[in-house]
C-alpha cells in the first residue's frame, strides 16, 4: 500500500462514529413482463422503502426469510444493481443528511435554486448511483462483497494468485513480483499461505474457498464489506473459524460489515445492531441484545420461536408460522405481516384479498366465485355464480367463522342478488417508530397506533 493512501485512510478512520452507508427509502422493483410485446404488467417489490444507516466500525445484521429482499438490498448497496427508487449514500455526514432530508420532503417543483444546487452537490459526492470517475472508483474499492457460495463466486479457471490479485491489478495497485507479495500477505491474513498461490478453486475445501473470497475482498483495503450469508454453506466447525476470522479482521482493520444471514444465532453473535426484514421492508431494528431479549415485532418473535437453540430449555418446543410469504408483486395492505401474524388486530390492514384467501382455505365457497370487482384493495364486489352461494358467503362472514380480528375491521357486508359487497376500513401502511432509544418497530401493538387499538 502506498504511504499516502495509508495516511489518508488513517485520518478518515479516526473520525469514528461517522456513517459509512446511509439508505433513504431505497426501492428495488423488478418489472414483470408478459405477452408477445413483453409489456410490463406489474412489479416485484423486492425492496420497498428501506432506510438504514451503517456507521463506521459496526456490524449491522440483516435477517429475514428467503425472498424477503435482504440479498437484493445487499446487491443494491454494493453497487451491483441500481435501486429503482430512493438513494444510497456513501459517507454522508450528519449535517448533509439533515439538509438532504429537508430538501427531499419538498416536492421537486417547489424547490428553490439553492436547494437544487445543494441537492446536486450532495448527490454528486455521495449518492452511489450518481458517482462518476474517481469518486466511483473510490467507492468501488471501499465497498466489497463476500458471497454465500464461494465456489460459484471464484473463477474456476483462474489460479488463486490471479483471483486475489485481480482487484489490485484493475486498480493498478501493484504488478509483477510486488503483486505476488501482496497476494501472499493477503492470504496470510486469512490463515492461508504462499503454498496456495498456484492452485485452482476446486482444490480447496469450502472453508478455504471462503477464505480466498475474503482475501479478495480485502485486497483493496476497503472500509465496508457486504457479507452475504458468508457461512451458510459451511459446517459449524468451519463456520466458527470463518466467524472468528471475520471478527479479527474487523478489529484489526476497522472494517464495517453488513452481515446478511438467515441464521439468528450467527447474526446475534456477529452484529452490533440487527434489522429484521419481511417482504421488502424493515419491520424491526435495534441492538442485537435488545432485539433478542425484548423483540417488539411478532415476526421477530416468530423467527426466534422457530429457531432451534442448543442453549434453550429442552422442553421448549419450536413453533412455526402459518401460511406462506405473500406475493411480493402484490404485498398486503397495512402491516405486511398481518396475513400470518399470530397476534393480529383489527387495525393491521385487512383487505379484500384476505377474504378471498380465507374463503379458499377455510370454505369451498370460492369454487362458485366468478369475479372480483375491486374499487380499491379495501373495497370490492365479489360476484358468484348464483344467489345461493352469495347468501352462504354473507352468512359465513356474519356467523363468526372469520378470523376474530378480521370481522371487526369489516365496515360493510351486503348482498345484492348474486353479488356480495365487502368494504373494509382503509388503513395506511405501517411506519417504523422508535419504541426505545435505537429500537424501532412497525408493529401497531407497540407504536402510536396502539391508542387507536385501545379505542376499538
Amino acid at each position: 500500500m502506498t504511504s499516502v493512501r495509508a495516511e489518508s485512510l488513517e485520518r478518515e478512520r479516526s473520525v469514528g462514529d461517522r456513517p459509512v452507508m446511509t439508505l433513504l427509502d431505497v426501492e428495488k422493483h423488478f418489472p414483470i413482463k408478459d405477452g408477445v410485446l413483453q409489456k410490463v404488467v406489474g412489479h416485484v417489490k423486492a425492496v420497498d422503502g428501506v432506510s438504514l444507516e451503517i456507521r463506521r466500525g459496526e456490524t449491522l445484521g440483516l435477517v429475514g426469510e428467503s425472498g424477503c429482499g435482504k440479498t437484493t438490498l445487499g446487491r443494491c448497496i454494493s453497487g451491483i444493481t441500481a435501486p429503482t427508487g430512493g438513494g444510497i449514500y456513501f459517507r454522508l455526514s450528519d449535517v448533509d443528511r439533515a439538509a438532504l432530508e429537508d430538501i427531499l420532503e419538498i416536492p421537486e417543483k417547489d424547490r428553490t435554486t439553492e436547494q437544487r444546487r445543494t441537492l446536486e452537490r450532495i448527490d454528486s459526492r455521495h449518492l452511489i448511483t450518481a458517482l462518476t470517475g474517481d469518486a466511483w472508483r473510490a467507492y468501488r474499492r471501499n465497498c466489497q462483497v463476500v458471497f454465500q457460495d464461494a465456489f460459484s463466486s471464484l473463477n474456476p479457471r483462474q489460479l488463486v494468485k490471479d483471483i486475489v490479485g485481480r482487484p489490485l491489478r484493475i486498480h493498478k495497485e501493484a504488478s509483477g513480483a510486488e503483486l505476488t507479495e501482496r497476494v501472499v500477505s493477503l492470504l496470510e491474513s486469512v490463515g492461508m499461505g504462499r503454498q496456495h498461490l498456484f492452485r485452482y478453486p476446486h482444490q480447496f475445501s469450502g472453508g478455504q474457498r471462503q477464505r480466498i473470497s475474503i482475501a479478495r475482498a480485502l485486497a483493496l483495503d476497503p472500509e465496508f464489506i457486504v457479507l452475504d450469508e458468508p457461512t451458510s454453506a459451511l459446517d459449524v466447525s468451519v463456520q466458527a473459524q470463518i466467524l472468528n476470522l471475520l471478527h479479527e479482521l474487523q478489529r484489526d482493520r476497522g472494517l464495517t460489515y453488513l452481515f446478511i444471514s438467515h441464521d439468528l444465532g450467527v447474526v446475534r453473535l456477529m452484529s452490533d445492531r440487527i434489522a429484521v426484514m419481511y417482504l421488502g421492508e424493515v419491520v424491526e431494528q435495534g441492538t442485537a441484545t435488545e432485539l433478542f431479549e425484548r423483540p417488539r415485532h411478532p415476526y421477530t418473535e416468530a423467527l426466534l420461536a422457530a429457531n432451534p437453540d442448543l442453549d434453550a430449555d429442552v422442553d421448549k418446543e419450536i413453533e412455526g408460522l402459518e401460511g406462506t410469504v405473500p406475493d411480493p408483486a402484490n404485498p398486503p395492505e397495512g402491516c405486511r405481516f398481518h396475513t400470518r401474524c399470530p397476534v393480529v388486530t383489527p387495525i393491521c390492514g385487512w383487505e379484500v384479498d384476505d377474504v378471498v384467501s380465507w374463503l379458499s382455505v377455510e370454505t369451498d365457497l370460492l369454487e362458485s366465485m366468478t369475479a372480483v370487482e375491486r374499487r380499491s384493495n379495501f373495497d370490492a364486489t365479489l360476484a358468484f355464480a348464483d344467489d345461493g352461494s352469495a347468501d352462504d358467503v354473507a352468512k359465513a362472514i356474519s356467523n363468526g367463522s372469520m378470523p376474530p380480528a378480521m370481522s371487526p375491521a369489516l365496515e360493510t357486508v351486503s348482498v345484492e342478488g348474486s353479488k356480495v359487497l365487502v368494504r373494509f376500513r382503509p388503513v395506511p401502511p405501517v411506519e417504523l417508530e422508535e419504541v426505545e432509544p435505537g429500537h424501532v418497530t412497525s408493529c401497531v401493538l407497540h407504536t402510536s397506533r396502539q391508542r387507536e387499538l385501545r379505542r376499538e
Binding site: V236, S237, V238, G265, D313, L321, V361
Partner: protein, 407 residues
C-alpha cells in the same frame, strides 16, 4: 472392529423391538486416487417407533449410510465392502419371521421394500420431484407400484387381466389403446378414481389445503414448504416401517422448518413409524430425536440417548462440535472453532479419524483404531480416552468440564 461392542450396547440397552440393525457397515468408493472409505464400520440399531438422529458434518458418510438402506448408492463407483443391514418389516414380524439383509436380498425383493416398507425424504424437494409430472400423477405411482391389489378392490375379484396389468402400470402400447375402448374404459376409470381418492387422502394428511387442486399442479407451482409436504405425503403413502429423512428441512426457512418438523412428528406418532433423521444441525437433532448418533469421517464417534449426549458429550469431537455452535454466551471472535479440516478418507491407516484435530490426541490415536465402548446405560463412545487413559495421559474425569450446560 466395532461391531461386537456396538451390538452389545444396543442389545443390553434395548427397550423395544428393532426395526433395523446396521452392523459393521462399510461402503467404499473407487476413485483414481484410491479407495475412499466413506462409511467405515458403522453399527447402530433403530428401534420400533423411535427417532434416531444421525448428525455429522459434510462428507462424514451420513447420507451414504442412509442411502445404503435402500441400496441407492450407485455401484460402481460405490462398493458395499462389508457388514449388513438387518431389517424387520412389520409383515415379517407379524408372521414371526426374521430380518432380511437389505444389502444382499434380490432386486425384486428390494423393489417391494423400497418406497413401501422403507421410504425416504430428500433434502431438496425441488430436485426430488419430477418437474414433468403433476403432483397427482407423481403420487399415484406409489400406489400403482405397491398397492395395485387394493386399487382393484372396487372391481371385485374378477377384474380382467388387462386392468390388473394397468393397475401395476405394466400395460403395453396395444393394451393402452384397448383401455380407452368402451368395455374396459369404465373399469380403468374406476381404478383411476380409486387412486385419486388415495392420493387426495395422502395429501390431506400432510395438511395441504385443497388437495384436489394441488394434484393438478406441477412442482414448480408450489412453494418449498409445500413441495416438502408433498414428498412427505409420498413417503408416508404406504405406511412405511422406517422413514429416512435426509436433511428434509435444510432448504427451508426456519418458520417453515418448524411446521414440517411438527408434521413429521405428528404423523410418526399416529403411525408409529421409526425415523432415521439425518442432519448437520445439532440443535435441530436435539429437538426431535430420541437417540443421537454422531458420525465423523465414516465412523460413529458417539451414540446415546439425546439427553445424555447433549448433557454429557463423551467424545472430544462431539464436545468440540457443540462448542462451535454460536451461542449468546460466546464473545465475538471467541467461538471455539475446530482447527483443521476433515481428513482425506483414501485408503486410511488404522487410527482415530479425529486425531488430526483432537485437542487430547496422543501417539496411540494415530496408530490404533479406537474400540467402541459402552460408557453407561445406552451411551457408547469410540475414543481412546475411555479405553486406555494411560496411553493418552488424560483420564475421562480429568477432561475439562463441558461448558455448554443445558438449562
Amino acid at each position: 472392529m466395532t461391531s461386537t461392542a456396538a451390538a452389545g450396547v444396543s442389545a443390553e440397552g434395548a427397550t423395544g423391538a428393532l426395526v433395523a440393525s446396521v452392523q459393521d457397515l462399510s461402503i467404499h468408493f473407487k476413485t483414481k486416487a484410491g479407495m475412499v472409505h466413506a462409511v467405515d464400520g458403522v453399527s447402530f440399531d433403530i428401534r420400533d417407533g423411535e427417532t434416531l438422529g444421525l448428525v455429522g458434518e459434510t462428507g462424514c458418510g451420513k447420507s451414504v449410510t442412509a442411502r445404503s438402506f435402500m441400496r441407492l448408492v450407485a455401484s460402481p463407483p460405490g462398493v458395499y465392502a462389508g457388514g449388513k443391514i438387518d431389517f424387520w418389516s412389520s409383515e415379517a414380524r407379524a408372521a414371526g419371521g426374521g430380518p432380511v439383509n437389505l444389502l444382499t436380498i434380490a432386486d425384486d425383493e428390494m423393489l417391494e421394500i423400497r418406497g413401501n416398507r422403507i421410504a425416504m425424504i430428500f433434502q431438496d424437494p425441488g430436485k426430488a420431484l419430477n418437474p414433468a409430472l403433476t403432483i397427482g400423477n407423481q403420487l399415484a405411482e406409489v400406489f400403482y407400484q405397491h398397492r395395485s391389489d387394493e386399487l382393484l378392490e372396487p372391481l371385485g375379484p374378477n377384474a380382467p387381466v388387462i386392468i390388473r396389468r394397468a393397475a401395476k402400470q405394466e400395460s403395453g402400447k396395444v393394451e393402452r389403446v384397448l383401455l380407452k375402448l368402451p368395455p374396459l374404459r369404465s373399469k380403468a376409470a374406476k381404478v383411476r378414481e380409486e387412486v385419486e381418492d388415495r392420493v387426495a387422502a395422502a395429501l390431506a394428511e400432510t395438511q395441504i389445503p385443497n388437495p384436489r387442486k394441488i394434484m393438478d399442479r406441477y412442482p414448480h407451482e408450489l412453494s418449498g414448504g409445500m413441495k416438502q409436504r408433498v414428498l412427505i405425503a409420498q413417503a408416508l403413502a404406504c405406511n412405511p416401517d422406517l422413514l429416512i429423512a435426509d436433511e428434509p428441512t435444510t432448504a427451508l426457512d426456519v418458520t417453515i422448518q418448524a411446521k414440517i418438523l411438527k408434521l413429521i412428528g405428528e404423523l410418526q406418532q399416529r403411525r408409529r413409524t421409526s425415523v432415521l433423521y439425518i442432519s448437520h444441525d445439532l440443535s435441530l437433532v436435539r429437538e426431535i430425536s430420541d437417540r443421537v448418533a454422531v458420525m465423523y469421517a465414516g465412523r460413529i464417534a458417539e451414540i446415546g440417548r439425546t439427553d445424555d449426549v447433549f448433557r454429557e458429550p463423551l467424545h472430544p469431537y462431539t464436545r468440540s462440535l457443540m462448542a462451535a455452535v454460536p451461542s449468546s454466551r460466546n464473545k465475538r471472535g471467541e467461538l471455539a472453532a475446530i482447527e483443521g479440516n476433515v481428513p482425506e478418507l483414501i485408503d486410511p491407516q488404522p487410527s482415530c479419524r479425529f486425531h488430526t484435530r483432537c485437542p487430547f490426541a496422543a501417539g496411540v490415536c494415530g496408530d490404533v483404531d479406537p474400540r467402541f465402548l459402552r460408557h453407561d446405560f445406552e451411551h457408547g463412545v469410540a475414543c481412546h480416552i475411555y479405553d486406555e487413559p494411560a496411553a493418552i495421559g488424560i483420564r475421562p474425569d480429568e477432561l475439562p468440564s463441558f461448558e455448554r450446560r443445558i438449562r
